[in-house]
């Protein structure tokens, strides 16, 4: 027999007490996926839901900066228990990279994702929010493979480029029978939403609130996102 990787066998167990998995995706870089994912997790936690946030963007991990997760490290207890930040259980590759660059090729990314999925003890969660990297890549395919119940929350911007890439991604999710909750247009003017079910207006105060969960929840961005999440039946 060829060598068998034992890790996938426990991923289902690790996610067995997670009621819903929301994959915040968008395929283009710089459209606000991470801020959307992190703020959504904070909003859900504030509403009293047991919530986790997993930053799967290994190359551009930034959810820790948005949450202000400094000086935290998972607790080793039959695997790793994620630290809690702003009421959200949080896991990211930055805990293990010392905030250095993580230069991984595709197969290595997949291996690292499987490792983290296999060792992270999320426990009981109402929501696990996944901050997805741009594009359809190893992270996206692994999420579809291992977190089969994942529901996609797509983010776009008013840019023609973002919309075009998004349309292709939605077509692929449809073919792969991955449920899509809907599309949120970030940095929206509100006029003529192309296929988006909800809009988030530009918020100049957002940048100053990064790293401070309480302040982030008071931003216009968070208010718009809360409305969008309700409209898309996230909570």
């Amino acid at each position: 027999m060829t060598n068998i990787d034992p890790r996938p066998s426990v991923i289902e167990v690790r996610l067995s007490k997670v009621k819903r998995v929301i994959a915040v995706t968008g395929w283009k870089g710089g459209i606000g996926k991470s801020v959307t994912a992190a703020t959504l997790a904070l909003l859900l936690a504030k509403k009293g839901h047991k919530t986790g946030l997993f930053d799967l963007d290994f190359a551009g991990a930034s959810a820790h900066l948005i949450l202000g997760a400094k000086g935290l490290f998972p607790k080793e207890e039959k695997g790793l228990e994620p630290p809690v930040c702003g009421g959200v259980k949080f896991m990211s590759v930055v805990f293990f990279s010392g905030n250095k660059a993580v230069p991984l090729r595709g197969a290595n990314i997949s291996d690292a994702i499987i490792e983290l999925l296999a060792i992270t003890q999320w426990g009981e969660l109402d929501f696990l929010v996944l901050d997805m990297p741009p594009g359809i890549n190893d992270a996206a395919l692994d999420v579809i493979r291992f977190a089969g119940r994942a529901e996609v929350l797509a983010v776009t911007t008013p840019s023609l480029l973002a919309h075009d890439v998004l349309a292709r991604s939605l077509e692929l999710y449809r073919k792969m029978e991955v449920p899509v909750l809907g599309v949120i247009e970030n940095m929206s003017s509100g006029a003529g939403l192309k296929g988006a079910a909800a809009a988030i207006r530009p918020d100049r105060g957002l940048e100053k609130a990064l790293g401070r969960p309480a302040a982030l929840l008071k931003t216009a961005f968070a208010r718009d996102l809360a409305r969008a999440a309700a409209r898309l039946h996230v909570a």
Partner: protein
């Protein structure tokens, strides 16, 4: 880790229609540096939850880590590569962090392949049909 090994062994034995699982070979890659004693202790504890593994002997097989540089094709072992205690611990949790903390000793590139000895895997199973 131990849970995944014991669960996989039991599931594989079931698919191979082994009535009694007698022995399983567990490869311990040098890079992940899993503590053998803690692993065996965990296996013994978990064995109670998995009756299919009750009489199974888990044989640990050490596998030295070996890397192959993508930039200059140099092959090199883990031994001799410098890393701090924290970096070793990070690599223990996620072996791919080797690409962050280690580099090819010849050309200094972090773009290398982990050719052998990454982590834990099952190499064989023996049992009665």
């Amino acid at each position: 880790m131990a849970e995944s090994v014991i669960k996989t062994a039991v599931e594989y034995a079931r698919t191979e229609k082994l009535k009694k699982l007698k022995e399983a070979g567990v490869i311990f890659g040098e890079l992940q540096a899993v503590d053998k004693d803690i692993f065996i202790f965990a296996l013994e504890e978990l064995r109670k939850q998995y009756p299919g593994a009750k009489g199974c002997k888990f044989k640990i097989i050490g596998e030295p880590a070996a890397f192959r540089c993508k930039a200059c094709a140099h092959e090199f072992p883990l031994k001799g590569l410098s890393k701090t205690r924290d970096e070793s611990e990070f690599i223990h949790f996620v072996p791919e962090m080797a690409h962050t903390f280690l580099k090819c000793p010849k050309c200094k590139s972090p773009d290398f392949e982990i050719a052998r000895g990454r982590g834990v895997s099952l190499s064989y199973l023996k049992g009665d049909r």
